[in-house]
Symmetry: C2
């Protein structure tokens, strides 16, 4: 049975402004020490397991060109364009139907396009195991992440120590983002993993679950699938997709389905959720500054500073992020990265469209 | 008797980097809400008291063009160029000899080119009184500033309440920059003023004091004066001036001379010593931010932010100075403005001449 991959690349992430823009979201940015963008790294990472022709990218139609440019080896017909974002269930269903048109059945990985994994080898080892497990019967496998601190911004996966298959454990349930107190309890039990949105299953398995738990969506996606390869393909997609229910795969299927396994991941996963992550990932100097470009620091520590065309001199700064781009410069307290979206709100109010 | 003015504009101030550069020191910058530069404001301020043809500018030869551009009404021959900076005594002596070539005697104000005075009218009133006092006998008059906090970066003038002439008091002595404790004591007595380097005297008075207390310098300056208007003028200046003792007028003459008066100034003097001063002078918004250009602030207070060609977004910043220029951006904690010179040291070490 063939192994295929669906990479979700529709995100519009605003958290990396001013580098990320409406026309250039996070997954298309270089954010690590590597010269490749997040989505290029994602493809690279799974290539030993999947043929290039079996990698599908679901993205917003606005980013079709970007995907083609950054991933020229991916067949054009594998770049699936959502007319608008409808959360992860329609996105994954669209991918599953496309793959089912090509193969009678196949293993299908579902991956975000904008997270980082430090130990690619260990990751592939466990993904391979997930693929084997997915092939057996109708198992859903989710690649959970061993938490190393009580993060309150992620959902968690509760597994059961008793039911084990190799490195995989049976999933008890999915839980929403917890409070700090609850997150601490989760960590203490050792039976909770972060839900990183990485799944492995057979196409046949997930499609039958769409049919069972999201029957209207299944019908809609079926119409879209019927038109694939016909002159109507585009038109049907444009008409039907926006009417599909906007719902996550977790909420729509995973929380209802049985026979779900999780494989605890210990391969240095990072969702690269904000500029702070860049500070974690990139190499810091002796003062714990992560510097890029022509930067001079005097009595400055714990800062992230990326110069572009101008020299940046930082004097007496602590805990500050400076990101310079061609037309805009962000200077942000590390503790205020969550407020970057307020800058974008301001820009919208001021009709400064060119910076969005 | 004619009233003349000597404006000292040789400073190379590094404290306003990146706006000030080797080729564009502070006195030639716009630093206030006014559109005029510091030296333009200085000339404007005294114009009601002095004819344009009686205003002399002493500057470094590198800035001759800048002075001409910014002050086209000043006669070219009134722009006196020091081959190199030798502190204030040679500078003032050079000016005094030049004026003595033109007038048998005259009142001479000596003024820095880079300080700010808010109440120009009150200032002129007191300068006028100083001129009258200088005309009488051989009085030296120094325009002291009433201190409103115990500044440790200035020298002080101790005056005597007993000996009064109109608004002027007899000076007891000049004192060096004090410790904070001593500065507090000075303030408490009410008998100390800041020494702002503004003087008024007759040319004949100051020249006779040069002859008495700095006889070698007097001779050297005499040689330079003898060559004024001859083909040798430039050559003699270039040869003799660099050999003159490098000494301040305070140390070389004022601390030794008798009959010195001071007029306590209450006209909103500001030496505009650093970016902090710009924060004091310019209008602040409700969050006490002084903003210039396209700036967006979110949860940001007590900052000074000057955008240039790029939009600047400040998020969660407190007490920070951001100055953008064409090729360099300074981001500096307000408490670290004194460390800006370390940036320049770094730039020199790195051979980044273009930013100096």
């Amino acid at each position: 049975m063939k192994t295929t991959a669906l990479i979700m690349a529709g995100g519009k992430g605003e958290r990396f402004w001013p580098k990320s823009r409406k026309s250039l979201p996070k997954q298309f940015l270089v954010l690590t020490n590597d010269k490749r963008t997040m989505i290029q790294l994602t493809v690279e990472r799974i290539l030993p397991l999947v043929d290039m022709e079996d990698i599908y990218i679901v993205t917003n139609k606005d980013y079709k060109e970007l995907v083609s440019e950054q991933l020229p080896e991916i067949p054009k017909e594998n770049i699936l364009c959502e007319p608008e974002g409808r959360n992860t269930a329609p996105c994954i269903g669209l991918g599953a139907f496309h793959i089912s048109k090509k193969y009678e059945d196949a293993v299908m990985m579902v991956l975000p396009s904008d997270s980082l994994i430090k130990d690619g080898e260990r990751y592939r080892e466990l993904v391979k195991e997930a693929c084997e497990l997915a092939k057996k019967g109708n198992n859903l496998v989710t690649m959970g992440i061993k938490p190393n601190y009580p993060e309150t911004g992620y959902g968690y996966i509760k597994f059961s120590r008793e039911e084990k298959e190799g490195n995989a454990f049976k999933v008890d349930r999915f839980v929403e983002k917890p409070s700090l107190e609850v997150a601490r309890e989760y960590l203490a039990t050792g039976e909770y993993l972060w839900n990183a949105g990485m799944f492995v299953w057979k196409v046949s398995t997930i499609l039958s679950l769409f049919k069972e738990f999201l029957p209207d969506m299944y019908k809609g996606l079926g119409k879209i699938a019927d038109a694939i390869g016909t002159p109507e393909q585009e038109k049907v997609l444009e008409k039907v997709f926006p009417q599909l229910e906007s719902i996550s795969i977790d909420y729509g299927i995973m929380e209802k389905a049985g026979s779900i396994y999780t494989i605890p991941g210990d391969y240095g996963w990072d969702d690269v959720g904000s500029w702070l992550a860049v500070g974690r990932i990139k190499k810091a100097d002796n003062n714990n500054n992560v510097l890029n470009g022509r930067v001079i620091t005097v009595n400055t520590g714990n800062c992230i500073i990326e110069a572009k065309d101008k020299l940046i001199a930082a004097v007496g700064l602590e805990n500050i992020v400076v990101i310079d781009t061609e037309d805009a410069t962000l200077i942000c307290n590390k503790d205020s990265c969550g407020d970057i979206k307020k800058v974008l709100e301001n820009l919208r109010q001021l009709n400064y469209e060119e910076y969005l």
